[in-house]
Amino acid sequence: MGPRSQLLMTVLAAAAAGLLGGMLWLWPVLARRGVTFVLLRIAMLGALQVSVLGMVFVSVNRTYEFYSSWSDLLGTNRVAGAIVAVGHQGGQPASAQPSSLVTVPGAGTAHRARTARGASGPAQRAGPGAGQVVTVQFSGPVSGIKVRGYVYLPPGYQRVPHPLPVIVVISSQAASRTGLYSAPQVAATATAQMRAGRMAPALITVLPPSVARRSGRGCLDVPGGPQAATFFTQDLPQALAHAYRVATAPSGWAVLGGTGGGYCALQLATAPAGPFGVAVAPPGTYAAPPGSAGSGAGPLVRRQDNLLWRLRYWPQPPVRVLFAGPGRAREFGSLVRPPMTVASARLAAGPMPLAPVLDWVSHALRSPS
């Protein structure tokens, strides 16, 4: 008859009923004068109370499954157990290999990323002092996504004394050679601005919005599908942090959405788990992800894909947003409240249209809001 048993409950209920009935029946007898009868009354009430409280305790214990036995309840059970490692390497318990127990998340991946860089990285050098663009293969341990991208290291990267801020450029032109948001173009503009002293050294990585098959172009986590948001918010920062000396706080991370990447940039910037403190996108409405798919899986999941909905109903993060390019984002801008801020800029005429955008981003990264 344990402290969770139905039998105990039945016994207590029967006792309570019997005591109550007996008390009501014997009431006149116990009503006589004398210390004995007063004590009998107290004993009777006390016995009833004990059985009622017992029932309360057993029912609470049954609901929450607190105590399985009397020794458990009384604390006389002192036998402890030992920690056992569950081995998966040739049946060996993991504790038998102390060195392999130390699993720093992503350490293995970062090494892999470095080797991949060495293997697949036809470094494009544009002369000394111009910085360099490296082709890299990112493989995210959390999302499982593998994607090719580009990393721009500023001139004198090795000599910069502090961790570099990071600009993540997301554009469907990522793989092109001449597009406005292509790696060579962004790199050339950044180098020029840094040389002119209008931009602080920053690491720039260029990626496409669709980082996996079926992932769509919204950089969203698709339930049951590719986890593009997880890639951008967890895998990418970790991979870069392992391979390069970069800033860790959101105030040091910007996302620059180019052609086809504006929704991604604003989506990642307004995500509660987003690592970005600065975001740039072409003006637009951003009420739905590009393409038809979105993150699918039900109206509520789709509702939060509407960035205007996010601005209305979620707290706005401390992110500086810049709309860069022709046109306006009137509705988005009107919904922005502190600590989020919004600004707009035109692209420059001439060979380097992104120059004012990079200047602004660099300034925003230097003075965190």
Binding site: Y67, G81, V84, L101, P272, G298
Partner: protein, 391 residues
């Protein structure tokens, strides 16, 4: 008058005792053998029994650290925030506030100070109250910068070394401890006794100096969200993984590296600990799940936690993630009991699905129910394990 305040508890006891005395005193006045008198007896007895039961329930609530306030118990606190996640004040709120009004071993003042240096410990260089000897327990509250959610009252235990000159420049590892549901963070201090167990282990040099952050598993109490980013709703998982970690890194001298962050929880907190580590290996590298479960079941919330998406529900189940997604590079210790714990089969099933780079460890004790006494027994080995897996 607070639900858990001593005044209220004693008032309840006094009222209950008074009602019993009144019944004994008024006994002869309703002793006739007629129906109205019989009814009067029944009412008298029932009222006194109910009052005593109410006093007992108030005591049980305090003992198990379920509910901290009337609004929590009655469900009147912030339901609007829970359903629509609308942010009330958009001002630049402080991320982490140390509430100095209730310092020290809290919230149950009836117990001896749990943070005194253990007997036979190290020589004491300062007065017994010096934080450099016994560490410091502080009450805190964390407001999420990006999710807008609030932790409610929580606690931070800073180890003695935090205040010692030799460690002036050390950034300490952090263990985030989560309650079960329903549960208030004070339960981790008074019932699980985490700060005092940690202080003893530290003094015996069985764990390395670590900062402990203790929070309720449900920032939207009385709702239980199973630490889920609810579609088009409150983002509770992001609150713990991003807002809490950043706020703690900002407020205390702790490491920002995932290698130095662990998470421990019991019951629902165990589920959350496992889930957080598996979904955010870039934030946590080790988790301890005491009597946790491994399948998302839905908690307690006005609507579906997964926005009606079965796929999203799966992604919130640690057991499903193990079978269908890349294994994350984290270490997980699961605890359960051979008898007395219904979660045992699910725990063992989860354990056997673990594959590299994830690492699984188990602590299965012969007997122990779903209660603080069991978890208290498992705590010291769990903290030692965590200390070995954090750097």
């Amino acid at each position: 008058m607070g639900l858990t305040s001593g005044v209220f508890g004693w008032l309840m006891v006094a009222v209950a005792a008074g009602s019993l005395a009144a019944v004994v005193w008024a006994w002869p006045r309703v002793a006739r053998r007629r129906l109205p008198y019989l009814a009067a007896r029944l009412v008298m007895v029932a009222v006194s029994q109910l009052l005593v039961t109410a006093a007992f329930l108030v005591w049980l609530n305090g003992y198990f650290s379920f509910y901290d306030s009337w609004s929590q118990l009655l469900g009147t606190s912030q339901p609007a925030q829970a359903v629509s996640a609308r942010h009330a004040a958009a001002g630049p709120a402080k991320q982490l506030v140390v509430d100095g009004s209730r310092p020290g071993p809290l919230p149950d003042a009836g117990r001896p100070a749990p943070l005194a240096a253990p007997p036979g410990g190290l020589p004491r260089p300062g007065p017994p109250s010096s934080p450099a000897v016994s560490g410091r327990l502080m009450q805190i509250a964390i407001t999420g910068q990006r999710t807008g959610l609030s932790s409610g009252p929580g606690y931070v235990y800073l180890p003695p070394q935090y205040f010692q000159p030799a460690y002036r420049h050390t950034r300490f590892p952090v263990v985030l401890a989560l309650t079960g549901y329903p549960g208030v963070a004070g339960g981790i201090v008074t019932r699980l006794e985490l700060p005092s167990v940690a202080a003893s282990l530290l003094a015996a040099r069985q764990i390395r100096p670590t900062v402990f952050v203790m929070l309720s598993v449900s920032p939207l109490f009385p709702y239980d969200t199973e630490c889920t980013d609810i579609p088009a709703g409150p983002q509770v998982e992001s609150f713990f993984a991003q807002d809490v970690t950043r706020a703690v890194e900002h407020a205390f001298r702790v490491t920002a590296s995932p290698a130095g962050w662990g998470v421990v929880g019991y019951s629902t907190g165990g589920f959350c600990a496992t889930k957080l580590a598996m979904m955010y290996p870039t934030r946590f590298s080790a988790a301890v799940s005491m009597a946790g479960y491994y399948q998302a079941y839905g908690g307690r919330f006005p609507r579906d936690l997964w926005g009606g998406s079965v796929a999203y529900r799966h992604e919130n189940s640690p057991a499903w993630r193990l079978r269908h997604l890349p294994a994350p590079p984290v270490s997980v210790l699961v605890t359960s009991s051979r008898t007395g714990e219904r979660s045992l089969p699910g725990t063992l099933a989860f354990l056997h699905e673990i594959r590299p780079p994830m690492r699984g460890y188990s602590l299965i004790i012969p007997q122990g129910g779903h209660n603080f006494r069991t978890w208290n027994r498992e705590l010291a080995p769990s903290l030692e394990w965590l200390s070995r897996h954090l750097s």
